[in-house]
């Protein structure tokens, strides 16, 4: 049985480390795959470029997606995830600092499952990470794997 894992698409190394810390604190033992730009994230998901040959049946259980990414932005990544048969049902949680209403609207418009604002306060941040992990990795039923 394949292991459940989280794909974290985040370019800020501080945020990556803090997220890891948060998950560790609450014993969310799942593996975390971290990719630091949008183009690479798509390569990973579609097994192209540097990730050619990756097992496509092994999709992440949930994708935590930041909006501000270099090369290809978060919204564009989301759009392409939703446009491809192989990935269009994957749960995507937008995890971003932006409070701008337009980003919120666009997030849902492009098909995000959830939109979470990264709190500045670390305690709140870890709490958010804990709840995300709990919900998406344990409580939520992921889409069935294609055979």
């Amino acid at each position: 049985m394949e292991q459940k894992y989280i794909l974290l698409v985040e370019d800020n190394p501080d945020d990556v480390e803090l997220t890891l810390l948060a998950f560790k604190k609450y014993n969310i033992k799942n593996d975390l795959v971290v990719i630091q730009n949008g183009a690479e994230a798509l390569d990973y998901l579609f097994a192209e470029g540097a990730y050619a040959g990756r097992d496509l049946s092994n999709m992440p259980t949930v994708i935590l997606l930041d909006l501000k990414l270099p090369k290809i932005g978060g919204l564009e990544v989301l759009r392409r995830i939703r446009a491809d048969e192989r990935t269009k049902f994957l749960p995507v949680v937008i995890l971003t600092s932006s409070k701008e209403e337009q980003d919120l609207i666009n997030g849902y418009k492009f098909g995000a499952n959830s939109y979470v604002r990264k709190p500045v306060d670390f305690a709140q941040f870890t709490e958010a990470a804990r709840q995300l992990g709990l919900y998406w990795m344990i409580l939520n039923e992921p889409p069935p794997r294609k055979s």
Partner: protein, 430 residues
């Protein structure tokens, strides 16, 4: 009666003609002798008759002099009138014109006779003038028109023509006034207006660009400033939690201060964004039920601290015309302030109602909380200015600045009254 040479010559001529007429009337009559008495009587009659005639003559001369004086006066009035007078025939031919009129057209009076007025009107206006002339003779009432005259100068001569047909309809009387100066002033006003319009358009475009830039700025602030803040807070916290045993009390204290500071900074960024949002968002006015809005906000406030007992007095039917979102922000700021500053009063009371100042409706939110010193009242609505220490009451000092901005955008005013420890009342008009 002056007895000068002319009068004598005229008198001689008159006698000659009288004698001739007498001769004519007496033709065929025989000369008749008469008695001495008869002749005397006739002589007397004739003498009386002559004197009568002389007297009549004198009167006539006087009348004639008066008439001539009158005529001279009227001629003077007509000829030298400050407007041009024209008498025109049905086809517009000039049958009479005064000096002013002639000089308006720039032609000697004698050379204007029987020439059509229309000839002197500039080509562009001739059809309009002809139509005007037609209307004058049709309507029998005073008609007015403006026209430009033909001129060999560069600047056109503008005139206003008022004309009325005579009773017999065969001619009309026209007064022609030079309005060139007025026209030039009008032209200048029009040019100034166009210039103003252009400048307004330019300024509006500049403002729009500025707004777009502000929006881009807010957006980047939203992302870019928060991330490093999170790092500061996050790693301080991680240090505190995971390396507590390796830090002494002082070290832990420093880390706590770091965390608190970054949290404050986050609050400031949020508030700044709110303020700029309030300033630049598009205003969409509609009728807002302020009573319902206030009630919902108070319910939310109560949920944040369910243990607090606060008496909330709410006037029914409060409404205003405004942007619903901004109205909500306005009331949220005022009510949450009242909530916050009554937190140390065991029997807190907050009232939202309406009163009248100079017959104009004014909304107010009153609380019996910490109040403030009126000496510093002018600082109240300034951004980041606070009248209480952070230790007493938290806050960044942006709430009232937002309130004022919202109220101003709706064309209203906001002000406040307070007394230390006796509460405060915030008034606003919309």
């Amino acid at each position: 009666m002056k007895k000068d040479k002319n009068t004598l010559a005229a008198a001689a001529e008159l006698r000659r003609r009288a004698e001739e007429r007498l001769r004519e009337s007496k033709k065929g009559e025989a000369a008749r002798p008469g008695t001495k008495e008869e002749t005397q009587r006739l002589l007397h009659e004739l003498q009386v008759h002559q004197i009568e005639l002389e007297m009549q003559n004198e009167e006539l001369q006087q009348s004639r002099a008066e008439v001539e004086t009158g005529l001279a006066q009227y001629t003077d009035l007509y000829t030298f009138a400050p407007v041009g007078y024209f008498t025109l025939e049905r086809d517009g031919a000039i049958s009479r014109v005064n000096l002013t009129g002639a000089s308006l057209l720039g032609i000697e009076r004698s050379r204007l006779m029987n020439r059509r007025f229309g000839l002197f009107v500039s080509d562009d206006f001739r059809p309009a003038f002809n139509a005007f002339l037609k209307k004058v003779f049709e309507n029998q009432a005073k008609e007015t028109c403006e026209a430009a005259l033909r001129t060999d100068r560069n600047e056109p001569v503008w005139v206003q023509i008022e004309a009325i047909a005579s009773e017999d309809g065969q001619g009309c009387r026209a007064a022609v006034v030079d309005i060139t100066e007025r026209k030039q002033a009008e032209g200048e006003i029009r040019r100034l207006n166009e210039e103003l319009e252009r400048r307004v358009k330019e300024r509006t475009a500049q403002l729009e660009t500025l707004n777009e830039e502000l929006e881009a700025f807010s957006h980047s602030v939203s992302h870019d400033l928060r991330a490093p803040l999170r790092s500061i807070s996050g790693f301080s916290q991680a240090l505190l939690e995971n390396y507590k045993d390796r830090l002494d009390e002082q070290g832990q204290h420093y880390l706590e201060r770091l965390s608190a500071a970054s949290e404050r900074m986050a609050g400031l960024i949020d508030d700044l964004l709110l303020l700029s949002h309030v300033a630049r968002v598009e205003l969409k006015k509609s009728k807002v039920d302020l009573t319902a809005l206030a009630r919902s906000i108070m319910q939310e406030l109560q949920k944040t601290q369910p243990e607090r007992q606060v008496e909330f007095v709410l006037a029914p039917g409060l409404a205003a015309s405004g942007d619903p979102n901004l109205m909500r922000t306005l009331l949220e700021n005022l009510l949450s302030n009242a909530w916050k500053f009554t937190s140390k009063k065991p029997q807190a009371r907050i009232e939202f109602g309406m009163t009248y100042h100079d017959d104009k409706p004014v909304f107010f939110i009153q609380d019996n909380g910490a109040g403030f010193d009126m000496t510093y009242a002018d600082k109240l609505f300034k951004p980041f200015q606070r009248l209480h220490s952070l230790a007493d009451f938290p806050g960044t000092g942006i709430g009232l600045a937002s309130v004022r901005r919202i109220v101003h955008r709706h064309g209203g005013r906001a002000w406040a009254k307070g007394k230390p420890n006796e509460g405060a009342t915030f008034y606003f008009t919309i």
